[in-house]
């Protein structure tokens, strides 16, 4: 009965607020609080809507240090049933390949699931790799940019609506499958007292270390990460001009805007 869904979430620094130290050129990380990656909240909302409609369970998984428990509590507060945090020193320093490997191992261990839902990408690295990589590790079909999912119980499949630039595609895929949700598809629902209380009191969050997972430690963490960051460059700060055109007629306003953009060489005539 229903769908057993796994959702991947990442506990990320709130990058909307990261400033750069001009002396060292590095990010000022002091005191930057973390949030659940906003695109993952969209995925959680999708999963909860499916649960509301068809029944079943939603399990959130994440790979992070123990502080990410707050992130799992946040989504459990929204209505997720349980959280699993893969947390081990051996997982540190992972790129997307090593991260997706560990997440795939977590999913394998959960065993009983129909669908894995991911956010489209994260706000702190924007690679959009994890969904595809998890699907490949698990050898499951993968669809991305999804905006809606319908469950076809008899056929043991789902219908996925996928957004393109100027069209939708609808796919039917056999379960289990991995789907990532297009950003901004849904606003996440509110946190409820009863759910948050559950997160605090009912042992619904488990921490799994490398010992709990059947994995090759050489594929996890820094050792399993072939990616090398060779340099970080900052986009130079362009002083803003703060032009305000106070005109109520939209046609005149549009004309003004086009003129200005032409003047700045930002669009071609």
């Amino acid at each position: 009965m229903g769908l057993d869904i796994i959702v991947g979430i990442k506990w990320v620094p709130n990058t909307t607020s990261v400033n750069i130290d001009p002396k060292t050129g590095t990010l000022i990380r002091e005191g930057i609080p973390s949030v659940v990656n906003p695109h993952d909240l969209t995925a959680v909302e999708m999963a909860l809507r499916l649960k509301d409609k068809y029944g079943g369970t939603v399990t959130a998984i994440s790979m992070a240090p123990p502080s990410a428990i707050s992130g799992l509590e946040h989504v459990i507060g929204m209505g997720v049933d349980r959280g699993i945090l893969a947390s081990d020193r051996a997982f540190a320093g992972a790129d997307t390949l090593a991260t997706s490997y560990v997440l795939a191992k977590v999913i394998e261990k959960i065993e009983k699931y129909d669908l894995v839902i991911m956010g489209h990408e994260t706000i702190d690295s924007s690679t959009a790799h994890i969904g595809a990589q998890v699907a490949s590790w698990l050898k499951l079909p993968y669809i991305y940019y999804a905006t809606d999912i319908e469950y076809e119980e008899n056929k043991e499949s789902i219908k996925v609506k996928r957004i393109l630039e100027n069209a939708y595609e609808i796919y039917r895929i056999k379960l289990p499958a991995v789907v990532s949700i297009a950003m901004h598809t849904f606003e996440p629902r509110r946190i409820k007292v009863s759910n948050k209380l559950k997160a605090k009191l009912e042992n619904v969050i488990e921490i799994w270390t490398s010992k709990d997972l059947n994995l090759d430690i050489n594929c996890a963490g820094l050792r399993g990460s072939p990616t090398v960051v060779s340099a970080i460059d900052f986009v130079p700060k362009v002083p803003r001009k703060n032009l305000i055109f106070q005109e109520k007629d939209p046609k005149k306003a549009a004309k003004w805007l086009i003129e200005k953009l032409l003047e700045e060489g930002l669009i071609d005539p």
């Binding site: 709130n14 909307t16 607020s17 990261v18 400033n19 750069i20 130290d21 001009p22 000022i28 005191g31 930057i32 609080p33 949030v35 946040h74 507060g77 606003e187 996440p188 509110r190 946190i191 900052f234 986009v235 700060k237 305000i244 106070q246 109520k248």
Partner: protein, 99 residues
Amino acid sequence: MSSETKVRKISRIEDILNNDVWDVDYEPHIIVDYTKCKNCEWKPCLRLCPAECYTMVGDEVLFSYEGCLECGTCRIVCPEKAIKWSYPKSGRGIHFRFS
């Protein structure tokens, strides 16, 4: 992202606010009834909202909730009682760290 705010000169409010952290809610926690602003000559919100969430665009007040520091000043200084004010939900909004 931006570089640091200069402390040796008067900075713009945007640059000062850039040092703060928000998880902005998708639903505004403050609603302004602009029709009431039309009768208000005084408009204390413009100067007293510490985050300058209230600005004039042409001859109209424009409010944006994203940079709100949740102090509650606008609500009580508004002579027209035009502001429906509450706090953001689900942990959203300003996140002070060093205050």
